[in-house]
Structures are given as C-alpha cells and as structure tokens.
Symmetry: C2
Subunit: 467 residues, 2 copies
C-alpha cells in the first residue's frame, strides 16, 4: 500500500557500539570508540585501558603510546571517553583485537574520590545504595541485557503461538481478590474546582488500586480476541523481606480461549520458558561464572533434556511428602498449603527438576479457578523449580456461570463487585485458561542471581525506594 | 552450550486460529474452528454464520445444511462455538473459502437480550460503558492488534539500533519535576507491627508517586549501558477531558549516550515512526475505512515520501506565525507557548506534514534540557503531526554539572532532591539525549481513530475507571 522506497532507517546517525566494532572484526581500519574506562594501567612508554559501553559483556582494550600516552595521563576509572584509533590484532591474551589509540577526548571526567564504582568487587548492599551507578558493574549490566533478551524471547514465543500483546490497566478498581496488601492511588493535589472539593479518592469516582495481576482484564480480552498476553508491572504492599519478593515486579501473564485441560496450560508455560533458554546469551555465561555449580547443573538438566517436565497432582505430592515426613519440621497434610521446605523437597529431591504440581484443593485457591469433577479440587498448577521455588502458577478459569457465582459467595466476595467479570460467562463464554510467571524469578532461576533485588534495575521493597 | 535437541515448542497443544486456517488455504480437509458468531442468517434449508476468533480482521463464513442445520437452530449472535467441518471453495462473494459444517458444539450460549454487542453499529460512549465486551467490535479488535504489531515494530527498530529494553520504576520518589498533577501511592492496609503504626506514606520511608516519565531513570541506565528504551505506563492526574489525554497512558521513551545534536535525536524518532509504518497491517486497512480522507492523504504523504520530515526552529516558527497573525485568535509571541491553533497551522498549513520544531526558549522547558550557546534556547524538539498535534518531544540533556545546577535553581527545585541525577554528571558523564513518544497518540495518528480513549483497551480518565 505504502511505497517501499522509504526513508532508510539505517540513516540514523548513531555511532557503532563496541559490540558492533568487535563483531565486525575488521583490522587496520580507523574507528571511533565511545565508552567508559573500566580500568587503566599506566607505564612509562605505554598505557592500557579496558573500555566498555555496556553494549555487551565484551570489553575493548585500548593501547596508548606516543602522543596518545600523554593525552591518557589524566584518564581515571569511570571517565567517559571518545577514542580515535585503529583496530589491530592483539598480542595480549583474552582478546582478538585491541585499539591502538591516536587521539583521546575525555567527554566526562571522573576524578572524584567519591566515585562509587572504584573497586572491582563491591558488596551487594553497597551497590543497592548506589543504584544510579550499579549498572556499571559487570553483573548488573549483564542482568539488564539478559532481561532485554529474555523479554524478546518470550515475545517471540507468544507471537509464534498467535498471541496478541495487550496493555492491561495498572490502576484498577479491583482490590486483589479481597486479599489486601494492595497500594491505593489518589491524586497528589486536590481538585481545584470552585464547587466543594471532592475527596481525593473520587478522582475516578471510586477507590483506585495498583494492579496485583492482569489476569481478570486479560480474561475479558481473551473473550474477544482469543489469545492475549502481557508483561506488566504488578504491585504488592507486602511487608516481607525475602530473596523472592519485591513491592514492584514484572509478571508475564497469558490467557487464552479454547483450552480444555491444565495439561494444555502447562505445555504453553514449559514451551515459553524453554524457548528463552534455547540459545543462552553471552550475558548468561557471564552470570553463570558466579553460579553455584549444583544449581547450574540442575538448570542444565532441566533445559537440555527432551523429557517434558514432571507433572504430579497435589494429592500425590502430599502422599510422597507424608512417606518422608521425618524429613520435615512440619508434616504435610491434605488441605494445607505446601510449605517452603515441602516445595523445595519436591523439586530438588523427589523430582530433581522443575515440577508442575496440579489440582490443589479448591479451598486454598482463588475463586476463579475451575472446579474439578471431584468437587473439591481445582484445575490449576504451581510450577516449582529447584533452588527458587514457585516460578509460575495458572489454571483453567471457571467458565460456568453458576459455579463461578458459588465460588464468589464461598470466597466472601460480592457478585456486584465482579459484575463485568461474571458477564463474560453470560454472553458467549469460552472455556479458557492462563497463567502468570514472575519475570524477576525467571531471571533469577536462569542466572543463579541470589536475590530478586539484583534481578531488576531499581528495586522497591518495604523501606526502600531509591531514585 | 545447551544441547540443541530441545523440547519442541511447537508441541504446544493450541488449536489453529481462524487466521492460520485461512492462511493455510487448504481445501477439502477436515478442520475444527473455534470462535464467536458475529452474525447468523437462517433459511429453510441452509444457515450462514460469520465466525471470528479475533485472531485477525478476517472472518470465516460457516455454512450449515442437513444435520448441522438443526444443530445451528439455537445459535445466536455472540454465541461461542466449536465447529467441525470441511473447508471448501466459496461461491459467495468476498471470501475464498467457507466452512461446510458437519458438527456444531455450542461452548457458551448468548441468548440474553442484554448482550451488549447485538447490533453492528454502536456509538462510542455506549461501547466505553461496555468496556468488557467492546473488543468484540471490528474496530476495537483491530486497534488492539495494531497496538501489538506497532509495539513489535518499535521494538525491532530499537533492537536493530542496539538499544537495550529496560523496565524502569513505576513507583518513584519523583514528583513530576515539581509539576504537580501526579498520583500518590500508599498501602491500602496500615502496618500491623506491634509498635506504633507508621503513617501509610512511610511504606517506602518517603512519599511515593506514580511515574510521569521514565526519562530520568533511563538517563541513569544510559550512563552505564549507553542505549536504553522502554514502553512504559505513565500517569497524570490531569482533570482535562480532551481527545488526546488519558490518566494512564503508555509512552515509548529512549535515551542514549554519545549523541551531539538535536538533529541526531530527531533522526531516531523519524526512523522509529517510519519503520512501524513500512508494512501497513490488515488491521490498519480496516481502520482506514473510517478515516477522514484528508487525514489519510496527509498520512500517506508523510510516510511515502523519501524526503526527511521538516525541521524548523521555534524562532522561525514564531516568525512565520506572526506573518500570518490574522489567521489566529491569539498572535504568537516569542517566549510564549505555541497554542493549539498555532501547532495545527504549522503542521497542516505551513508544512503540510510532520514537523520537528526545535530550540524552544529555555524558560518554557524543563530543567534538564541542554542550554544552547545563545544562552536563551535549549537543544530540544516537539514533533507536530497534522490532525493530532504533538506526537513526541525530546532533547539533548544538560550534561554539564554547573549548568545543570543552575537550571535546577532557576526551576525552583532543590538539588538534594535530584542528588542521584546530578551525580550522573560528576562521574564520567556522557553527552546524551532522548525523547518520549505517546503510544496512544501514535496509534491515533496511524489509524485515524478520533479519540485516544479508543486507542487503549481499558481507558482511564477523570471520573472513569471501569473494570
């Protein structure tokens, strides 16, 4: 329709990145390199600097001699530089090429003693306190690039499965299925109308909350366009300080119509997670260097094997746990939640890999999960993985109008509050299901990073919101 | 590293969509179709139904005869069905194939008179009130798919330019550069600690707001990994009711280091916007049917032409506006904001297409924009497009420490509040720039949709937050 003879997008005037320069692998050509000095060694007749621009985990060694050596005299760690020079075959170990510098331009000095990233190895708490600069460390930079490539991988998977990416609301009227632990949203400034000022909470005409899950909204869209997914921020005002909780986190959620079993839902989850691991990035290799070998081995086994991940029912899981009750502080009991020690044992000991635990008792799960024919369990799953615990959870959704109304009543929720959601079952309701997967937890599992706080650029938890 | 012999992701058990079925274009093969009845005509010996599953704007005609005719008797508009049958060459106009139905399964009835999407043509306000079902209309479904493909297109462009996708914080300590009109965030439930309960606002130890822009956070990341972008929700508690404002909207924002002119920044914007228009989707064609021909013609010209979009300075723009002062209610004056009528005239009359207006007076713009050598304008731009107005805005950012501190002072902002941001200039600061582009405004411009409220699945504005 539109002509093909378009403005060429390659005409953007961005200079090549260090990743591109190294990938081009051309020697003896003049090149301009922009980046930051990671470290610099100065000798009498030569200086060596390691330069990065964050475009990949690969750095470039710059060699300063003659005039350039004098110009390099004042360069320090952290300085921002533009270097003109020639790429040449490197004689040093660990790199193919190096930059023989002709001209040095210091774009931004870094002479202060206060520069927070002076040393190579800095502890986690210190870096959390210097959140505005911690992406200058190898591991945080690698994590950020891993998030980007993982996001792309997940999107490619869902596109290949004909899903439509949907932006669901962040501000909602929905108070977390009655679960509490939500954030409220009000305008900072009061209304300035000349009539009596309305209370702040009335900006939207009703109380407003930050979303805890996009699921219900995605269900509405799946009732029209069949397959939808999103990677959305979610919020929980939890006052817990663990290695797997954040007040603001990102969740992959997908919902689709015309699915008939939990097995179907788990296959999509497994397909999505495996697909992002198919071609491990350089960044992952960098992060694996610090990974506990036992965890890395378990990760490899999980992803390399052709064998589909294990599926066991909650009831089977409880039976197994009871056979080994001496291993636990608290014995498992049918109808109770699985404790952390139980989940760990199931994934790490019983299965030795990822495991979908399915068909939990209805009483333990939210109202929207589809009741099984036994009348006491629901068609749902939790995906447990070694060393991380719960990575994803999902279910068939109750599409039968009367059963959904029953479930709302049993959960003590008012049907009027969920009128728009109940309506989805009245007017051409489809059998459907879906799941949610914690994005930071996936990054943690893939990379071996110890805490989800290092799996996001600028983490928020109770008492902590820098920047 | 990992073995290639992976679990095949194609083993996901999702049935084919109608888009896939139509694209496969195979005749005489048995097929199962899942979807919703858009319309149905019943005659004595045959019935015809139009079936959609939202996977594309193409629908499938189903033909019921013999046994299937009896089974189709109770089908109504909006019913959810599973049809087994055979694809055959269609003799009717407007489609290549039709489904000759053998077996009908009604998955979800839609017999109620209350079904909101009974009629073909429904007005905009009515559909806003029935937000949970409005994606069953052709235009809203096409808009949702257009959002998804536009998102993908933008991401492909920025990946090709070596940008890293970053998730920036939604909850921030930053009160909109002092501009007000933000939302505050507090936990819904008070702290339950046994000591004296802290005020709600102290969940994070300081007041918390919803982000109005990811820019400052992206600048911090660009100071480490050079090129970053995001497509993030943003929030403004504006009490305005226009066709281009939402309380919750999505913004594409990009920041990158080592850029030296506003021209550089505008080239990236132009490249990104043009790239998503290179292959107009079927959905766009559907939406164009309702588009004002004058707008469509202007859009075509803007995108088909090889000629880069116009650039004029604010000062030139004011001169042009003053030459034609009789055309305006209020005359343009150097130092004043351009009014809506001025912006319209510039894009629609003076240029007749998109125009970057650059180098506005510093006094009109936020503190972070880079001061030009003239000492009174800043290195910035607004992108104005015909019929929509401002689509994007950006600038070089002030990287010179002392000038940034001056600008903060002049803006009446406290340096301590921005300490982490100012620091980015102290420790290896890079020359850098970036921009923000309203995602709903882009959708509106591309599609000709009248109001941004129809450019997002579930819009929020003052007094309106359904679902």
């Amino acid at each position: 329709m539109f002509a093909r003879r378009l403005f060429s997008t390659s005409s953007s005037s961005l200079p090549p990145t260090i990743r591109q320069i190294l990938a081009s692998n051309t020697h003896s050509t003049p090149v301009q390199v922009n980046g930051w000095i990671k470290s610099i060694r100065k000798q009498a007749k030569v200086a060596f600097a390691v330069v990065t621009d964050g475009s990949s985990s690969q750095t470039l060694q710059a060699v300063f001699t003659k005039d350039a050596l004098a110009e390099a005299k004042n360069l320090t760690n952290g300085a921002c530089v533009r270097l003109n020079g020639t790429l040449a075959k490197s004689i040093g170990p660990g790199q193919d090429v190096e930059l023989q510098v002709d001209k040095v331009e210091c774009l931004g000095e870094c002479t202060s003693e206060e520069y927070p990233i002076q040393k190579k190895s800095l502890n986690t708490d210190y870096l959390r306190d210097h959140c505005n600069f911690r992406a200058r460390t190898d591991s945080i930079a690698a994590m950020l690039r891993l998030r980007s490539s993982t996001l792309r991988g997940l999107q490619q998977y869902f596109e290949s499965q004909e899903f439509c990416y949907a932006h669901t609301p962040i501000i909602t009227s929905n108070d977390s299925e009655g679960g509490g632990e939500t954030f409220s949203v009000t305008p900072s400034a009061p209304a300035t109308s000349s009539t009596a000022p309305a209370p702040h909470s009335d900006f939207f005409g009703r109380p407003a909350y930050l979303t805890v899950s996009s699921q219900l909204h995605l269900e509405a869209l799946a009732a029209s366009i069949s397959r939808v997914y999103t990677i959305s921020p979610c919020f929980r005002a939890e006052r817990s300080q663990t290695s797997r909780h954040l007040s603001e986190f990102w969740m992959l959620e997908a919902e689709w119509a015309f699915t008939n079993s939990v097995e179907d839902v788990t296959r999509v989850v497994e397909g999505a997670v495996r697909s992002v691991m198919q071609a491990p990035s350089v960044d992952l290799q960098v992060l694996w260097k610090d990974m506990d070998p036992v965890r890395l081995e378990a990760l490899r086994r999980a992803v390399e094997s052709d064998v589909p991940w294990a599926r066991i029912t909650y009831t089977q899981a409880v039976e197994e746990l009871q056979k080994h009750s001496s291993s636990f502080k608290v014995a498992a009991k049918w109808g109770d939640s699985l404790r952390s020690e139980h989940e760990q044992w199931l994934a790490e000991r019983l299965i030795g890999g990822p495991v979908f635990v399915t068909d939990y008792p209805a009483s333990m799960k939210p109202f929207y999960m589809r009741l099984n024919d036994d009348g006491k369990t629901v068609a749902c799953f939790d995906l447990l993985v070694p060393h991380v615990g719960e990575l994803a959870g999902g279910s068939l959704r109750e599409e039968r109008l009367e059963l959904l109304k029953d479930a709302l009543r049993k959960a003590g929720l008012r049907e009027e509050e969920y009128a728009w959601y109940v309506e989805l079952r009245k007017f051409g309701g489809a059998p459907h299901g879906g799941f949610g997967l914690g994005f930071e937890r996936l990054i943690r599992w893939m990379s071996g990073i110890e805490n989800v706080r290092e799996c996001i650029a600028m983490p928020r938890w109770e008492g902590r919101m820098l920047l």
